[in-house]
Every structure is written in C-alpha cells, then in structure tokens.
Assembly symmetry: C2
Homo-oligomer: 351 residues x 2
C-alpha cells in the first residue's frame, strides 16, 4: 500500500478535528490573517479591495462555508429569524410564513417557526426558547402580547416587525408593522352590503382573535352610521374556525333569525361552509340571504355561488415584513415604521 503524504497543514490535526474547512484554512491559503478573512468575507469596510478579492476567490476555491454556530457564539447573533404565528391550520398564516420564509432565506437567514395556538403564555414560552438561539430578527403576528412577552421582546434588543395588524391612529408606541386596517376592512365590506340594499346584516365569527374583533367593530360602526345596528345580530363563537362550523352557524342563524338578509362571516372557511349548508337546505344565495366572507381563501372562487369576500394581501405582508426586518437587521432605519398594504373587496356572486 502506498504511503500517502498529507499536505502539511492537514497533517497536523488535533484530536478533535472535524474535517471542516475553516476560516484559518482560508487565511493560510490566502496568506493573510484570520481576522482579515473574517472582515473581508463579511464585507466589513476598511479592508484592502485587493485582499477582499483574493480572500473571496480562495474561499470559494476551497469551498469554505462559515460555521453558523461559531459565528453565533462569537458575535452573539445568529442567522436565525424567529417567526411567531397563531396556527398552521389556517392557510392565512401559512401564506404569511411561506412568503416571509422565502424572502428571508434568499437573504441567508434560517427561519425558526413557533406556533402559539393563540395562547399568550405559549407565545411567551416559545419566544423564550427562540431567544436562546439569539435570532437576528423577530416576526410576530399581531400587536397584542402579554406583558412578559413584550418585555422579552424589548430587553432582547432583537429587531422586531409585527404582522397583520396596524396600530390605532392614536397609539403612543409606534412599533414596526406591516398589515392593513382590519377595522376599516370590516366596515368597508359592511358598507358594500348596505349598498346592495341589505338592511339586516348579521356578523358571524369564530376564533375571536383580536383581528376578528376589529372586523366586528368595523361592522358595528358601519351599521350604526347607517342607523341599522342590531346587537342581537352578532353571532360570536370562540371555537376554531372551520367549514363545518360555518355550516352549523348558518343553520342556527337562519333558524333563530330568519329575517336576516345578509351574513358577514369573519373568515372564508366559515362562509364556504355556510354556502354548502345553504345548498343542502335549499336556501337561495344571495336572493334570500347574501353571504360574504373574509380573506379570499382557496376555493372561494369555486363555490356555487362564488363567494364575495375581502382579498387580504397576506403574501405581500409576509414579504414586506421580511424586507423591513432585513433593513432593521442591517442596522438601517426603514423609510416608514408602518406599512399599510390595504385590502380589496371582491364582489362575486354570493353578495
């Protein structure tokens, strides 16, 4: 067997060598110090352009990839971005996650996902766990968090962008956030229903998260403004939102309040379920009762009749929030702390 001779710097190996190509390997090959390689690779200014070039070429020639753990330990900052969403069973949040994740990954960040199940203390616990990884940034759903969570976010000093919600006009704090005016969307859809001649418009909701409650408020104020507000037309169910529940709620509403001439469901899955129930029950939509949803989820355009709803820009929210976070993580200040991406009423057949 031939006696293979290892290259000099490979021959000397500690008992814990990992075989990985390290910063020092690059430094040695490029004839500079490790510090310089580190600076050159991270694009830190104050490095001779000639050296930058040399280091980069040597680095890619050797196939060097920085070790995230070592980097995190030394710099006290990882390439993780933590994202907190309420549920994975609502496509709304999955769309948010998908978009944010794509954008962040393209910039070299790994997404750490946390599912809170709408539970404030679970959110706190998740955040605590994620913070251990020293994330470079934070994406959280909504503006409502318990005091402990808020304190964690603050004391961690990690840049943070809120998703979906926008603070009220008079809000004292001005957190970074990307979303749209939920309240305004709620009243806009209600005004649309009013404009089609409907007078007895019910609001049917499940889950009852803060954003749903804002839509409820929008519905209320629009009806009040029109002088047709009727408190007993609020149907609020804290159970998780689903097609099946939408069907059940629709049946109940039609039974209890047969004179209702329109129903605003707080989410499309409920409205889709209602549409299917109407079909089963032989109730004509929209002639007997109009049905409207919210979010324009998958399948809403395939219903019979097609579902009138509000298109919400969740993919764009995820993307814009990720971009804003990227800006913050670079240490720059975003042009504006709040981004309102708006909404659009999709007038289809059901209302």
């Amino acid at each position: 067997m031939p006696h293979t001779v290892l290259p000099p710097h490979k021959a000397v190996k500690s008992h814990r060598a990992t075989g990985r190509i390290t910063l020092s390997d690059v430094a040695r090959a490029a004839g500079v110090s490790p510090s310089t390689v580190s600076r050159a690779l991270r694009g830190e200014r104050a490095v001779d352009p000639v050296l930058i070039e040399r280091v980069q070429s040597v680095s890619s020639k050797l196939g060097y990839v920085p070790d995230p753990a070592a980097r995190a330990l030394a710099s006290q900052r990882s390439n993780h971005v933590a994202i907190l969403i309420p549920l994975l069973s609502n496509t709304l949040f999955v769309d948010l996650l998908d978009a944010a994740q794509n954008t962040l990954r393209a910039a070299g960040y790994q997404t750490l996902m946390g599912v809170t199940h709408y539970d404030a203390s679970e959110e706190e616990q998740l955040l605590r766990e994620q913070l251990l990884h020293r994330p470079a940034g934070l994406l959280v759903t909504g503006l409502d968090h318990n005091p402990a969570t808020r304190k964690l976010m603050e004391s961690s000093q990690v840049p943070c962008v809120h998703l979906m919600d926008l603070p009220g006009i008079a809000a004292a704090e001005q957190p970074y956030c990307v979303g749209f005016q939920q309240t305004e969307a709620g009243s806009a859809l209600t005004r649309y229903l009013l404009s089609t001649g409907r007078k007895r418009i019910a609001f049917a909701a499940a889950q009852l998260d803060p954003r749903v409650m804002q839509r409820l408020n929008g519905w209320r104020s629009a009806l009040k403004a029109a002088g047709v507000y009727e408190p007993t037309l609020e149907f609020l169910n804290p159970a998780p939102s689903s097609l099946a529940l939408g069907g059940v709620m629709f049946e109940q509403i039609m039974q209890q309040r047969p004179s209702v001439d329109a129903i605003f469901f707080c989410n499309d899955d409920l409205a889709q379920g209602a549409l299917m129930a109407a079909l089963r029950m032989g109730i004509a939509v929209p002639s007997q009762v109009a049905i409207a949803g919210f979010n324009d989820l998958t399948g809403s355009d395939q219903m019979l009749p097609t579902l009138t709803t509000v298109r919400t820009p969740r993919a764009r929210i995820g993307e814009a929030a990720a971009h804003m976070l990227l800006t913050l993580m670079r240490g720059e200040v975003p042009p504006s702390a709040q981004i309102d991406l708006g909404f659009e009423i999709l007038q289809r057949q059901s209302a």
Copy 2:
C-alpha cells in the same frame, strides 16, 4: 450615591461579557467543576447522584439555560431538526410539519423547515444549508432524491427518517420511514369503485409527484385485475393541484369521455373542484358519474354530495416519524425501521 459592591465573581468581567448566566457560574455556585456540571445536566452517567441533585438545584435556582450555539460548536451537534417538505400550499404537508414539530419541540428540539417546491436541486441546496447547522436529525418527504442529496444525507451521518412513502417489498436498502402503501391505497379505492358497479373509471391527477404516480399504478393494477383497464382514461396534468384545476379537468373529462362512470382524483382539492363543477354543470353525482378523492382534506365532508375519499394518517405520520427520529438521535435502534400507518376508505355520498 452608595458605592455598591458587586459579588466577587461578577466584579471580574471581561470586556466581552454578555451578562448571560453560564455553566461556570453554576459550577462555581455548586462548588464543582464545569465538566461535572456539563455531565450532570446532560444526564450523562458516571456522575455522583448527590452532585447531580446539587447541580440541578443550583442550576434552576440561577435560571441557567445552556447556550445552543456554544453547545453546537463544542459537540458538533445542534438541537435543530431539519425537515424537508415539498410545499406549504398543500395542507397535507402542513399537517405533517405541524405534528412533527409539536413532537420534536416537546423533546427540546427546534425545527428547521425547508420547502423544496418539488425541485430536486432546490432540495439539495436546502439540505446543504440545513446541514451547516449540524442538525441532530433529519426528516425528509419521500424516498426519491437525487444522487447528490442522497450522498449528503449519508455522509452527514445525521439520523434520518423518511415521511409518507414506504419502500417496495424488494427494496435493497431499508431506510427508516413512516408512511403507508400509496400503491395499495390507490388500488383499494379503485376496487371499492368497482365493487359499486362502476366499469369505466378514470384516473385524474395533477402535480404528478412520486406518490401520485404510485396511486396511478394502484389504479392501473386494480383495473387490469378486473379486466377493464383502459389507458385513455388516464388524465395526467403536471400543473399544481387546486380546486380550480379540478373543475377544469372534470369539464374536460366529461366532454371528451362522456361515458366515464367514475373518476378517481389523486387529491381531494381536485375532487372538491370537480364536485363544484358538477353542481354548476348540472351533472348528477354519483348517479351519472361517481367522484372520489384522496387524503380527506378540509371541507371534503362538507361538500354536496359529501366526498368519498381515502383518509391518510398524515398527522400520525409526522408524530410517529418524529418519535422514531428521537429514538435514533438517542443512539438507540427503533423496534422497526418501517412503520406502515395504513389508510382508510371513507365511503361517503359521492361514490
């Protein structure tokens, strides 16, 4: 102002101190060496029970939490588990992710998610990125990967469990996997349709991933066994699966092959779209044509008629795979390398 005296060990601080409570802090307070604290906390055997007790109590008293980055750097193994799924827009995979993630988190692992978009080279790239984080384990969808990906998985030495698919009986390699027999499920559903008297059963599919093709094979063999196989009744569309596409395919099939008496859609979203299209077109289901789906996705039980489909145990797959991975990460050998979680035909109204 009173001159506050810091406790001795806090007074001596390096210029890069982070304020974090470290292993050494615990060691000092417990009167043992850092090595012992490390061993005691990780439950490594060969530590005096008395010391373990003392270390644990001191540790929790001080609120010590190990630093994942330092741990990963020193041990060459992080508490991350990487998971690779094709899409986030198919609830099937989200269910898988959700279940796996919950199980892993309960065991102290952080999930690193990668979305491959059914692209082999994107999968390879994602795996490469994830491997940088030295994951303790790997969860990947399916058994089909390009050679480079396979090699990465192997040379990384990271324990790996495959989701959804099970290897053929004659497979040489016996990878760890949790899933069910896709082919068998395809033929079982087909046999069910045959048993209801259907003779001209079409197979309609989109996306055409490996599992869809296995169901196709199941459909083929069942029809061949019954002597009614008809190749022109295969409708394969590589586009992404969706309700809208299901509607379009249904229209096409009914137009091109009006004599078809049943359609097996490879996924429920397609079947749901077909059901809505049938409603629009006034085609009676199941009397004129039976419709069956696959996976029992959200809403299938709310359709009109309700959708006959195959219930697939994706949440249980995610959970069982996570448990198997946990076993492997402990260095133990799972009782069996393959787990078949089966499937169930849900006979509802549409077929």
